[in-house]
C-alpha cells in the first residue's frame, strides 16, 4: 500500500524532461523533492496527475516499464479524473482562475465525487477478511450532508485563516498569490486524499502563512496521507518535517536521504549534482 513510481520517463513536446524516476511514498510519510529550476519538478507533478500535455515514454520496451501505482492499482494510462478519484491530489504551483465557479461549490462537488469512489472501492473489497473490514470501517466515512459539509468547510477554512467570504468567491479570481496557495491547502484538507503532491506551495508565502500551510501538511500526514512536497527551498521543511529528501536535477533523482540532505542544499546549493549530471 503505497504510491509507487517506477522508471517514469516523461516528454513534453518531444523533449525528454524526466528520466526514469522511481519513488515510493508510503501512507503517512512526507517526501520532499528539491531541485533547481528546470529540473523537472513540476513535470513530475503534472505527469502524476495525467496532464495530457505530457507523455509518459517507454524507451526500453518491456524491461523497465514505466508505471505509476496507487495502492497496487496501475494508473499510468488513466485520465486525470480517475486518478483523483483513486485518491491522488495535486496542489498547483500557479492555480488557474475560473470565473463564476465558486470555491465552496467546487469543493462540494469534488468531495462528493471522492466519497462516491471510495465507498465503491471499499465495498468491492468486501471479501478481503476481517482485518480489511476493520480498516474499511475506519476509513469508510459516508459522505456528509450538505449542512455538515458546510460546517466542516468553514471550520477547516478558519484553521487556515481563510476568511469565510472567500469560499463564495470565484475560484482564484482576484486572489493574492498567498491566498491561492491557502485555498489549495484547504482543498487538500477537505478532500483528504490518499496521496497529495504540493507543487511549490511555499512560493510567495510569508512566514505566518507558511506555518499555517505546514500545519495543514502535518494534519494530512496524521490522517495517513502520503505527501510529496516539491520545493526550491528548505524553508517550509522546517515546519513540515520530511521523512525523506530527494534531489531532482536534470530530470533524474540524483540523491536521496533524510532531512540532512535538505540542510546540505541550503548550504551548498545544487551545484554539486549539476556538475555530475
Amino acid at each position: 500500500m503505497s504510491l509507487i513510481i517506477k522508471n517514469l520517463s516523461v516528454n513534453l513536446r518531444e523533449r525528454q524532461i524526466l528520466k526514469e524516476i522511481s519513488l515510493e511514498v508510503a501512507p503517512g510519510t512526507l517526501h520532499a523533492i528539491m531541485g533547481p529550476n528546470g529540473g523537472g519538478k513540476s513535470t513530475l507533478s503534472a505527469a502524476l496527475l495525467g496532464n495530457s500535455a505530457y507523455t509518459v515514454t517507454d524507451r526500453v520496451r518491456g524491461k523497465n516499464k514505466p508505471q505509476i501505482l496507487v495502492d497496487n492499482k496501475d494508473i499510468t494510462g488513466l485520465p486525470t479524473d480517475m486518478r483523483a478519484k483513486l485518491g491522488l491530489f495535486l496542489a498547483f504551483q500557479s492555480p488557474i482562475s475560473i470565473p463564476g465557479v465558486n470555491v465552496a461549490n467546487l469543493l462540494k462537488t469534488a468531495y462528493q465525487l471522492s466519497k462516491e469512489q471510495r465507498t465503491k472501492n471499499h465495498s468491492s473489497r468486501h471479501k478481503e477478511g476481517l482485518r480489511a473490514r476493520k480498516d474499511q470501517k475506519k476509513l469508510h466515512n459516508p459522505a456528509l450532508s450538505v449542512w455538515e459539509f458546510n460546517e466542516m468547510l468553514v471550520k477547516e477554512a478558519k484553521k487556515l485563516s481563510i476568511p469565510q467570504d472567500f469560499l463564495r468567491r470565484s475560484l482564484n479570481e482576484a486572489f493574492s498569490g498567498g491566498e491561492k496557495k491557502k485555498l489549495e491547502m484547504l482543498q487538500a484538507v477537505i478532500l483528504s486524499p490518499k496521496y497529495a503532491v504540493f507543487d511549490e506551495i511555499d512560493t510567495g508565502l510569508d512566514v505566518d502563512a507558511l506555518k499555517i500551510v505546514a500545519t495543514g501538511i502535518e494534519q494530512l500526514k496524521k490522517k495517513k496521507t502520503g505527501v510529496i512536497v516539491i520545493t526550491h527551498y528548505q524553508r517550509i521543511l522546517k515546519y513540515a518535517r520530511p521523512d525523506f529528501v530527494h534531489i531532482l536535477v536534470g530530470g533524474r533523482i540524483v540523491a536521496s536521504g533524510n532531512r540532512n540532505l535538505a540542510k546540505e542544499v541550503e548550504e551548498n546549493g545544487y551545484r554539486k549534482w549539476a556538475d555530475n549530471n
Binding site: 486525470t80 479524473d81 486518478r83 483523483a84 475560473i98 470565473p99 463564476g100 465557479v101 462537488t109 478532500l191
Partner: protein, 465 residues
C-alpha cells in the same frame, strides 16, 4: 397619456360562437385567413383592420438579409391559426424521444412534462393562477392572456397595442401583428408593487405557447412588476416558426423586469421583437436566455424617453450543433441623463454559432448619457463560431460610452485543474460554462437558474459523449 377607465368590458362585437368549436385555418396566409382568425376570436373591428393592414406590410417587406439565414422558411407551409387544443400531441408517446428523454433527465414531474410537451394542460397551475388572480385583482392589477385582455379591456389595449412596435417595424413584427394569438396582457396601476414575479406559466390558458404571441405590459407611474415567461425545458412544437412581439411601457418612476428563458426544439425559427419604452426616472430590465431553436434573432431594446431613465439588457445564449443564436440588445437614448447597460454572454459548442448584434444610439439632444456594453463569448471547441456586430451611433460629445468584448476558449489548464479534483471532462466543461454565464444566471429566479445549470450539464455530456 390620458387616464383610462379600467373596467372589464362585456362582450359586444360580432357573433357568439358555439363552445368547443374546433377551427383550423388553412395553410398559408392571405386576407381571408386573417379575417377568419379575427372572426373566430370575436375581435373588435379595429383589431381586424389592424391585422389586415399589417398583412399588407408583411407582404410588401423583404426578408431581412443582415442576420441569420431565413431563406428556408416556407411561409405557405404554416398554419397561422389553430385552436390551441388542436396543437397538442395526442399522447405522451407521440413526442420525439429526445424530448421525453430530456424531461426525464432534468427530473420534471410527470404532470409538468405533459404540459410542456403539449399533451395536457396542467391542472395544479390552474388552481395557483386563480389564487394569484384574486390577490392581484385586489390591487387593481390585470394579468390575462392577450386575447382575454382585448376582450375585457379593449380601450386600454387599443391605446397601446402596436404603438411601440408598429407593424411596419420589421417583416416579422408585421407577421405577428397580422396573425397574433396568445401572449400576456398586464396592467399595473400607479404606485402598485407586485411582490411575486408574475409567471406566464401560471396562466393556464392554452394560448400560452402560441406561435405568434403578443405581449403588452403597462406599468403605471411608480409601480413595479417582474414578469417571467418561458421555461428551461425544451418546448416541443411542430410549428417551425415562432415570431413574438413584446411591448412594454414603463411610466415615470416605474420599474419593470422581464425575464425569458426559451428552449425551443431545434427545428424552430425564433424571431422576436421586444421593446421597452421607459419614461423619466423609470427602470426597465430585460433578462433574456436562449438555449434552443434552429435560429434565434432577438435584440431586446430599451427606448430611454425621459430624463434619468435607465435600461438594462442581460442576455445569455447557448448554441449547440446546427444552431445559430443571433442575439444582443439595443439602447436608444432619446433623453439626457439616461443610462443603459447591455451584457451579453454566449456559448458555442459542437459547431454551434452565436452572434452578438447590438446598437447604442445617442441623439444630439441627449447629453450626460452613460452606456456600457459588455459582450463575452465562450467557444467550447474549434468547430464553433462567434461573431460580434456592435453598432454605436453617438451624436453627442457629452457622453460616457464603454464597450468591452472578449472571446475565450475553455483552456486545457482549466480542464486539468477541475479534472484533478475528480470531475469528468464533460462535468468540468459544464462547470466552466456555468461559471461563465453565472453573472446572468444569478439574476434568474432560483428554479430557473438551477434548471438552466442542469441543462448546460446535459448539453455538455451530449457534446462530449
Amino acid at each position: 397619456m390620458s387616464q383610462v377607465a379600467i373596467q372589464p368590458n362585456d362582450y359586444k362585437y360580432g357573433f357568439k360562437k358555439p363552445e368547443n368549436y374546433i377551427f383550423k385555418a388553412k395553410k398559408g396566409l392571405n386576407n381571408k385567413t386573417v379575417e377568419e382568425i379575427s372572426w373566430h376570436k370575436e375581435e373588435p373591428y379595429w383589431m381586424r383592420d389592424f391585422r389586415l393592414s399589417a398583412l399588407k406590410i408583411f407582404e410588401e417587406k423583404k426578408l431581412p438579409m443582415w442576420g441569420g439565414d431565413l431563406t428556408h422558411i416556407n411561409f405557405d407551409d404554416i398554419y397561422y391559426y389553430i385552436k390551441p387544443t388542436e396543437k397538442k400531441a395526442k399522447s405522451w408517446d407521440e413526442l420525439p424521444e429526445e424530448i421525453r428523454d430530456t424531461y426525464d433527465r432534468i427530473g420534471i414531474p410527470e404532470a409538468e412534462k405533459k404540459y410542456l410537451g403539449g399533451v395536457s394542460a396542467q391542472y395544479e397551475s390552474e388552481v395557483v393562477y386563480k389564487s394569484i388572480q384574486k390577490t392581484l385583482g385586489e390591487k387593481g392589477v390585470i394579468f390575462l392572456d392577450m386575447d382575454s385582455g382585448l376582450r375585457e379591456y379593449p380601450d386600454l389595449v387599443k391605446e397601446y397595442f402596436g404603438t411601440l412596435i408598429p407593424p411596419a417595424d420589421n417583416k416579422f413584427a408585421a407577421l405577428n401583428s397580422a396573425t397574433w394569438s396568445g401572449g400576456s396582457f398586464i396592467y399595473v396601476p400607479k404606485g402598485v408593487h407586485v411582490d411575486l414575479p408574475l409567471q406566464a406559466y401560471f396562466r393556464i390558458n392554452a394560448a400560452n405557447m402560441g406561435q405568434f404571441e403578443r405581449t403588452l405590459i403597462i406599468a403605471d407611474e411608480g409601480s413595479f412588476v417582474h414578469y417571467v415567461e418561458g421555461c428551461t425545458a425544451p418546448i416541443y412544437t411542430t410549428d417551425s416558426l415562432h415570431s413574438a412581439v413584446v411591448e412594454i411601457f414603463v411610466k415615470k418612476g416605474a420599474r419593470v423586469r422581464y425575464t425569458t428563458i426559451q428552449n425551443w426544439s431545434n427545428n424552430v425559427y425564433n424571431l422576436v421583437t421586444k421593446r421597452m419604452r421607459i419614461e423619466e426616472e423609470g427602470v426597465g430590465e430585460w433578462v433574456d436566455g436562449n438555449i434552443g431553436s434552429k435560429l434565434t434573432m432577438k435584440y431586446p431594446s430599451v427606448y430611454l424617453m425621459g430624463k434619468g431613465a435607465r435600461g438594462e439588457v442581460l442576455s445569455v445564449a447557448y448554441a449547440g450543433p446546427g444552431q445559430h443564436q443571433d442575439a444582443g440588445g439595443k439602447a436608444i437614448h432619446f433623453a439626457p441623463y439616461t443610462s443603459s447597460k447591455i451584457t451579453s454572454k454566449s456559448v458555442s459548442a459542437g459547431g454551434g454559432r452565436t452572434s452578438y448584434r447590438g446598437l447604442v444610439q445617442v441623439f444630439p439632444f441627449s447629453q450626460n448619457v452613460k452606456s456600457k456594453v459588455v459582450c463575452d463569448a465562450l467557444l467550447i471547441d474549434e468547430s464553433s463560431r462567434s461573431d460580434t456586430y456592435p453598432t454605436m451611433d453617438i451624436r453627442n460629445n457629452d457622453v460616457q460610452i464603454e464597450h468591452e468584448a472578449t472571446v475565450s476558449k475553455i483552456g486545457d489548464e482549466q480542464l486539468f485543474y477541475l479534472m484533478s479534483r475528480g470531475l469528468k471532462k464533460a462535468d468540468a466543461e459544464a462547470m466552466i460554462v456555468n461559471g461563465f454565464i453565472e453573472p446572468i444566471v444569478k439574476e434568474l429566479p432560483l428554479e430557473y437558474a438551477v434548471e438552466l445549470n442542469r441543462l448546460i450539464q446535459l448539453e455538455m455530456e451530449g457534446s462530449v459523449g
